[in-house]
């Protein structure tokens, strides 16, 4: 059986996962920066919420990463 398609799929999948995660966290960071600029006193609350949201988004992109690793290892 030809397993090279699995490696190709793993590579393309990893790239897509990174695009999704990068776009999501970039948008999050942009709105966090803007909110901090509008109200510098709320910096600490905004920073905490930003870290929590970033970890959740990264969790989703790591789901996809686990699947691509499984593909590449088969």
């Amino acid at each position: 059986m030809d397993f090279s398609w699995a490696y190709l799929a793993a590579g393309i999948g990893a790239g897509l996962v990174v695009i999704g995660g990068g776009l999501g966290i970039g948008k999050l960071a942009a709105s966090a920066m803007e909110a901090t600029g509008r109200q510098p006193e709320a910096t600490n609350d905004i920073r905490t919420s930003m870290i929590i949201a970033a970890a959740l988004i990264e969790g989703i992109s790591l789901f996809g990463l686990v699947i691509t690793i499984l593909l590449a290892l088969k």
Binding site: I51, A55, E58, G59, L62, L65, V66
Partner: protein
């Protein structure tokens, strides 16, 4: 410190030169029957299930013993004076941070009953993550079995807390929010039941994937030197690997914090079902 991480890679890569050149990555993040790859550990087979003490299990025990020792000493020190000194100051800062910023806002009232469990979860995950960054150490939480066990216990605590407060039937009735048209009730019910199971599953996968991904990146960067078979890529490789190593320390703290805050949020949502 990085040298101690590179040396095992050198030995194994030299042995397995005839295999695929990335086999050492899998070898280093997977479970291993020998401690530190050298000392054989007891293998125990009971009823056909493999209960052997492997690398990850040994580091689980080490993390548990460390957390136990740290906190029993701290408890004894509190009996002498209310002001801590030495290492206990660090632990007190973290405990107060978890109690005031994590558990009290997300759990609401009645948080004292769940505080011991949440503090244990935070410090155990933190210790296990940090032990994996020590040279020759293995990340106990880099194993899907360990994180699934932690998530299963969280699931039991969440459902148990919800059912103890509202009764078994009342808990399921309270899962569905009020004030929605009755024709989407069945869909909402299915979605909420699925949500009950996917939330701890996501906790397990998030912790496991974050811990393993960091180690895989470090091993890949160092392994680049051997795959390309040139020494001139070493400054770049080691520099990047050092940067990722420092990022790993940050990720260790963040993942322990995220696990704790999400568990406390879910317990709060189960106990105070009336929003």
């Amino acid at each position: 410190m990085l040298l101690a991480e590179v040396l095992p890679v050198i030995e194994h890569s030299a042995e397995k030169a005839e295999e695929s050149s990335s086999a050492f990555i899998i070898h280093h993040v997977m479970d291993n029957y020998n401690l530190f790859g050298v000392f054989p550990l007891p293998r125990i087979h009971l009823f056909g299930i493999d209960f052997s003490i492997t690398n990850h299990v040994a580091f689980l025990f080490i993390a548990a013993v460390l957390v136990f020792i740290m906190f029993t000493r701290m408890a004894k020190a509190y009996q002498k004076s209310l002001v801590p000194s030495g290492f206990n100051t660090l632990l007190e800062v973290l405990v107060v941070f978890i109690r005031d910023e994590v558990v009290k806002p997300t759990l609401g009232e009645g948080y004292q009953k769940f505080l011991p469990y949440l503090l244990t979860v935070f410090f155990f995950i933190l210790t296990a993550n940090l032990l994996g960054l020590v040279p020759y150490g293995t990340t106990a939480t880099g194993d899907i079995a360990v994180t699934s066990a932690l998530a299963t216990i969280a699931f039991i605590v969440i459902q148990g807390a919800g059912m103890a407060k509202h009764g078994v039937v009342g808990y399921f009735k309270g899962l569905i929010p009020h004030g929605i048209p009755s024709w989407i009730l069945p869909v909402m019910f299915i979605v909420e039941i699925l949500g009950v199971f996917t939330k701890p599953f996501a906790l397990a996968i998030r912790l496991f994937a974050n811990m393993t991904a960091g180690h895989v990146v470090i091993l890949s960067l160092i392994g680049l030197i051997f795959i390309l078979k040139t020494i001139y890529v070493a400054p770049v490789s080691v520099g990047f690997a050092l940067f990722i190593y420092l990022l790993e320390i940050l990720v260790a703290f963040i993942q322990a914090y995220i696990f704790t805050i999400l568990t406390s949020l879910f317990i709060g949502m189960a106990v105070h079902q009336e929003h």
